[in-house]
Symmetry: C2
Subunit: 344 residues, 2 copies
C-alpha cells in the first residue's frame, strides 16, 4: 500500500510499504478516506536529521473499517470512524477521567509501530476505545469539519478549556495556524466576549475574524504584549490559548495573561522550562495543557459540527491525493496553505 | 511604639518607632492583639544584606480597631478584626473575582509604607476592603486558629484549591512547615482520600497525622519521587500542594504529579523558571498558585474554625511578647518551633 515516509528535513516521500493488517485481537483495520497534514508534522519536516530511518507520517484521519480483531465489540466492519491522533483503550482510569492521551495502554499514531495516517490504510490499536463511529456516509459534505475532530478542533478546544474560557471573558489566541483558528472557534463557542488573534497572515486573519476574532495583533515580543494590554484596559486577558510552542510564544503568554488568568498551551513545546516563574507566581497565573484528549471532546463538539454551528473544516484550503502529499508539506511549510487535506 | 525591624540576616530587633497613625480617609488604625512569625519571614532573616535600611516585619495579625478615617463605612472602632497579609480595596474587578492579592489599589504588609504587624499597632489601608470583623472578643480561646486565617490557613487552602483537591483524590503536601500543615488540613477538608506529607521533622509529622495525613515521605529528590509513586499505584498524585518554594520542591512536584494532575504552589518561589516544561506538557500537568487571596477565603473557612471542625491554631507551639520576637525568629529558623505567636 502507499504511505508517507519522512526521511530527513524537507525529504518526504510517498512509497509502497507492506499492507497494514490486524496484529492484536483488539485491533481494527481502516481504509483511510480522509487524512491531513498537521502543523506538528512541520517540526520534523523542518528538523529531522538523516539517520537512515524513515518516519511514518500522519495522525489524523477518517476512515472506513475494513476488518476487526476477534475481541472488538462495538466497532463494526463498514463503520465510518474518526481516528483521534492518539489511541487509547477506553477503559483505564485516565480514559474514564477523559484524559485519553494518558491512557496506560495508549500511544500516538505516526510511527513505526502503528504506522501513519497519510496512507491508504492503517492498523488501529484498541479499536473500541480509539475509534468514534459517525452517523454519516464516507463522502458526506461535512467531512472536512468532521476530520478536524481527529485533532485540530479538539486541540483548539483543549487550549480553551485549560485556559478557562467562559462567558464574558477576554481571550487571546497565539498563532494563526489551523489549531489557532480552531482555538478562535472554541473561544467563541465557550462564550468569550473578546478574542484577540495574534498572527500576521492576511488570509488566516480574515478567516479568524469570520470565526469570531474581535481583534488582531500582528506585532511580536514586547510590542505585542503592549498592544494586548492596551486592548484589555491594561490588565491583559483571562485566557491565553498558546498554539505555537516556541519559547517566544510562552514569554508572550506570560506577558499578556491577566492576574488570575490561565495559559492553555497546545503548541508542541520546543523549550525546556516555563519562563518567568516569579511573575507567574505573584500574579497567580496558571499554566496547563498538553496533548488534547480529543477522543473525549468528540461527544461535546460533534453535535455542533453536524448541525453546522461551527465549521472548523474551513481551515482546509487545499486538497491533495496521496501523490500530492509532498507538495502539501511544501505548501504548508511555505505558508501557501493553512492546512492540507489528503484524500487517498 | 514598639515594632520589629530586620537589619540584616540574623539581626532582627524590637525598637521604638513613631506611632502608627491614620494617613488616608480610608485607613483604620488597629492595636495588634495577636501577630505571628511567618515561614516567609525566614527568607529575609536568612538572606537580607545589610544596606542601612531596616525592614518592618510581620504581615499576619488580629487586632482591635482604635480609629478609622472619615471615609470608612463598615469597620467600627472596637471591632476585633482579622488583618490578611495583603490589603485590598474590596471594590475593584480583582477583589470582586476573589483575587484580592491582585487588587489594583492593594499591596502587602511588612514594609516602610504601611509598617509591619509584629508591632503594637498598625495602619490599615482600605480598611473596609481589607479587614474582616470577627464575632468574638479579643481574648477568645479560638484566637490561635482565627489568627491563621490572616495567612497560613488561607494559604494552605489556596494550594489545595489550585491543585484541585476533591473528594476521593490523592494529594501530596510538600513541606512540613506551618503552611504545609495547614495544607494538610485543607486537603482533608476538601475530601482527599490520601494525603502524603513530604517532610522530615518528627513533631511536625505527628501533627500532620492528627490533621489527616495518611502517609509520610521523608526522602528527598528521586528517592522521594519513587516513594510517592509507589504509594499511589505508580501514577503519582492528582494534587501537589507545594509549600516550600525551592527549585528542588518544584522538581519533586513535577515528578510526583499524576498525568492530568495539578500543582498548587504557595511557597514563595526562589527560582526563576518552572522546570520540565516538556514532561509537564506531555502529561498535561497544570501549575498554578501564588499569593493566596486569604481575604476571600475567610468566608468559607471561618465557620469551620468557629465550630471547631478545623484547628489550624495548633501550628503555634510557642508564644512570645514583642520582646521575645528575636528569639522567636531564632527558634523558627533553628526548627525548634513550628510557628511562633506574638502577643504584644
Amino acid at each position: 500500500m502507499q504511505a508517507t515516509i519522512l526521511y530527513q528535513a524537507g525529504e518526504v516521500r510517498v512509497e509502497n510499504i507492506p499492507d497494514a493488517s490486524i496484529k492484536q485481537p483488539t485491533d481494527a483495520l481502516i481504509r483511510v478516506t480522509r487524512a491531513c497534514i498537521c502543523g506538528s508534522d512541520l517540526w520534523p519536516y523542518k528538523l529531522k536529521q538523516a539517520d537512515g530511518q524513515g518516519q511514518n507520517m500522519g495522525h489524523e484521519a477518517i476512515g472506513v473499517v475494513e476488518a476487526i480483531g476477534k475481541d472488538v465489540r462495538t466497532i463494526k466492519v463498514g463503520d465510518v470512524v474518526i481516528m483521534p491522533f492518539a489511541y487509547s483503550d477506553g477503559s483505564c482510569d485516565f480514559c474514564h477521567e477523559g484524559l485519553h492521551t494518558a491512557c496506560v495502554h495508549g500511544g500516538f499514531f505516526g510511527n513505526a509501530e502503528v504506522g501513519g495516517a497519510q496512507a491508504e490504510a492503517l492498523r488501529i490499536p484498541w479499536a473500541d476505545g480509539t475509534l468514534f463511529p459517525l452517523p454519516v456516509g464516507e463522502d458526506d459534505a461535512l467531512m472536512p469539519s468532521l476530520l478536524t475532530l481527529s485533532d485540530v478542533m479538539g486541540t483548539g478546544h483543549h487550549a480553551a478549556v485549560v485556559a478557562r474560557v467562559g462567558k464574558g471573558k477576554k481571550a487571546a489566541v497565539i498563532g494563526d495556524g489551523a489549531v489557532g483558528l480552531c482555538a478562535v472557534i472554541a473561544a467563541k463557542r465557550l462564550g468569550a466576549e473578546q478574542i484577540i488573534l495574534m498572527g500576521r497572515h492576511p488570509d488566516r486573519i480574515a478567516l479568524a475574524k469570520q470565526f469570531g476574532a474581535t481583534d488582531v495583533v500582528s506585532e511580536r515580543g514586547e510590542a505585542a504584549i503592549a498592544r494586548v494590554r492596551a486592548l484589555t484596559g491594561g490588565f491583559g486577558v483571562h485566557s491565553v490559548l498558546e498554539c505555537v510552542g516556541t519559547e517566544q510564544a510562552m514569554a508572550t503568554s506570560m506577558g499578556i495573561a491577566r492576574a488570575g488568568g490561565a495559559v492553555g498551551r497546545v503548541g508542541v513545546p520546543h523549550y525546556d522550562v516555563v519562563p518567568q516563574a516569579q511573575p507567574m507566581f505573584y500574579r497567580n497565573v496558571l499554566v496547563g495543557g498538553g496533548p488534547a484528549p480529543v477522543r473525549a471532546y468528540i461527544d461535546e463538539l460533534l453535535p455542533d459540527v453536524l448541525e453546522g454551528r461551527i465549521e472548523p473544516g474551513r481551515v482546509f484550503d487545499r486538497t491533495v491525493d496521496l501523490g500530492g502529499v509532498p507538495d502539501g508539506y511544501r505548501a504548508m511549510d511555505a505558508r501557501e496553505a493553512i492546512k492540507v487535506m489528503v484524500q487517498p
